[in-house]
């Protein structure tokens, strides 16, 4: 495809992945390139993840892993150091608000440097229609943007899924007017739950917090170590899940026997995670999502040691209670909810009254019920289809969105969490920036 046909690119979503993609695209020397970044929030750059202002909300990765630019992995580190946020050589877990500021500054520098090739539009993009040789992106205000290519960078859902309509996302804790002395239920026990607990604590919540997930596992803390060296030639690919997990466990045992830590194996494997995922059959992927992902996540997605210590203390004081089980029933009682939790092992049904239910469940159960309008719309128009696990959109390894008949689009692409059916681990910056760099190369080649 020639340059001119792809010269105008509309990016839907101006959060971390949208900004990273724009930065990579603008590396191209082409003078006919036009990049339009569309963001529905009042502020560009921060997206959902980095809008929090709470100082306790830290990045889950040290500064070393957080550059938004694939060609300059030290970019964020340098930025934070130049401004005096990082001193010495201790691992630095930056507050997420600081990372939001980094993204905003990166974008405003770009905007200043690129007055012609970059355009920012603050509006919600609501639908995409193929038109002639390109696409038309309609905005909520009735206007529309025409481009040769559009890239969806819509990130995580910012509203609970339809079957959790009674729940709220953590960002609404501040506006929700939750009774501070009343118990609160959190659905999920992963990193988002940790964020919610920290926010409730910071807002002076004194009522008990109950967090429920199938296994009730919480993320492990980081610990300094050295990832083992692996080549793809060492790793069994394309096998059944149980075969792979046996290999993995054996490698952990061998590494521990040599004085290492399981983290060294998890981190050593990381560069190959996408390749391993892509080598699996659909049924193996499905089994992983259903049976192994919760266990994998608590080892893979870890938290800063100081946050882990605080969480343990919250549990010890009885302020936070973890339940392995499921939400069996919810009824609304005026301002509060009556909820029934079924405990996993005992099948014991526990009923409690809570002031709010927070949705921290993480991964989408069904992308076609996404709270993001433009994503739902694409599926309805048959321009996109859910991946076989329904956790995101079906995309090729080149990030092209696949339509309802299985044809990859030549002008609708997606990056970030929306592509997790194909890439699995695509919510952290090191993976997103690499994906954005590859797509930018493809689109500007």
């Amino acid at each position: 495809m020639t340059q001119s046909r792809r010269g105008s690119i509309v990016i839907v979503g101006g959060g971390a992945s949208g900004v990273s993609l724009a930065a990579h695209l603008l590396q191209s020397p082409s003078s006919s390139l036009r990049v339009t970044l569309v963001e529905k929030r009042p502020e560009f750059g921060s997206g959902l993840a980095y809008s929090t202002s709470l100082p306790d909300h830290l990045l889950n990765v040290t500064d070393k892993g957080m550059s938004a630019l694939a060609h300059d992995p030290e970019h964020f580190s340098r930025w934070a150091r130049e401004r005096g946020f990082v001193q010495g050589n201790e691992p630095y877990y930056a507050p997420r608000s600081l990372y939001g500021r980094y993204l905003r500054e990166l974008l405003s520098e770009l905007a200043e440097r690129e007055p012609v090739r970059l355009r920012l539009v603050q509006e919600e993009a609501v639908s995409i229609t193929p038109s002639g040789s390109g696409v038309e992106v309609s905005l909520a205000n009735g206007a529309s943007l025409v481009g040769h290519v559009t890239v969806l960078a819509t990130g995580h859902d910012d509203q609970p899924e339809a079957d959790l309509a009674f729940a709220i996302k953590t960002e609404f804790v501040d506006s929700g007017g939750i009774d501070r002395t009343a118990p609160v239920l959190i659905l999920g026990t992963g990193l988002s739950m940790v964020d919610a607990v920290l926010l409730l604590e910071a807002r002076g919540h004194t009522g008990q917090i109950v967090a429920v997930s199938r296994r009730g596992l919480i993320p492990s803390p980081h610990r300094p170590g050295s990832p083992i060296r692996l080549d793809s030639a060492d790793i069994p690919l394309g096998t059944d899940l149980s075969y792979f997990l046996n290999w993995f466990r054996q490698l952990v045992r061998d590494t521990e026997a040599r004085g290492g830590d399981w983290r060294d194996v998890v981190d050593g494997l990381r560069p190959f995670n996408q390749r391993i995922w892509q080598s699996w059959s659909t049924s193996t992927r499905r089994r992983f999502i259903e049976h192994t992902k919760a266990w994998w996540d608590v080892h893979r997605h870890r938290m800063a040691p100081q946050i882990h210590a605080r969480l343990q203390e919250t549990i010890a004081r009885g302020r936070l209670r973890l339940v392995a089980g499921r939400l069996a029933d919810v009824t609304s009682e005026g301002d509060s909810f009556r909820v029934t939790l079924e405990h996993r092992q005992t099948r014991h049904a526990e009923t409690l009254s809570v002031a709010a239910i927070l949705d921290c469940t993480g991964i989408a159960k069904d992308v076609s019920a996404s709270s993001i309008r433009i994503v739902r719309g694409l599926i309805r128009q048959r321009l996109a289809r859910p991946d076989p696990m329904r956790i995101g959109l079906d995309v090729t390894t080149d990030c092209a969105v696949v339509d309802a008949d299985g044809r990859p689009s030549s002008n609708i692409y997606a990056v970030g969490p929306l592509t997790r059916g194909t890439f699995l681990e695509i919510d952290a910056m090191p993976d997103i920036r690499a994906q954005c760099a590859r797509l930018a190369n493809l689109l500007t080649a």
Partner: protein
């Protein structure tokens, strides 16, 4: 290194990939067609089943078939399961590393080059499917006929 086990395993899989989809093949027949000792083949097929490359059914009507389409099974993936990490020498593996008695791994130039070699091997074998491997023989045969 590709052992006889790896070679026999690949031949058995190519044999299965030539059967009509979903049809079971008898171990005896696969062994005869490919000149593989039956007992050895039994053991190989069990390993391939445990790794999820083939499915089996027991009993009189029993046998083996591919668990995934031949286009999806990569040659390199099969060899890893049967012969372990792809490595031209025992020292050129990171997980099944066997140091040589007579040299220092960190400074051994031979080992460093062999690590590059193994990555090149993996690159080739992981990009070739069982279906492509099956068709090589046919293509070569066609070529021979054509040029004859």
């Amino acid at each position: 290194m590709l052992t006889r086990k790896g070679k026999y395993g690949l031949k058995a899989l190519v044999d299965l990939s030539s059967r009509p989809e979903g049809q079971l093949a008898f171990v005896n027949d696969i062994a005869k067609r490919n000149n593989i000792p039956k007992k050895f083949l039994d053991a190989i097929l069990v390993e391939l089943r445990n790794a999820g490359f083939v499915q089996s059914r027991k009993g009189k009507e029993g046998g083996y078939r591919l668990a995934r389409p031949a286009e999806e099974i990569r040659v390199g993936h099969v060899i890893r399961v049967l012969d372990g990490p792809l490595a031209p020498f025992p020292c050129a593996s990171r997980t099944r590393y066997e140091p040589c008695e007579d040299c220092d791994e960190a400074t051994c130039q031979v080992r460093h080059m062999m690590l590059d070699v193994r990555n090149a091997i993996a690159e080739v074998l992981d990009n070739r499917s069982l279906a492509e491997m099956r068709d090589i023989a046919e293509d070569t045969f066609e070529d021979l006929k054509y040029h004859a």
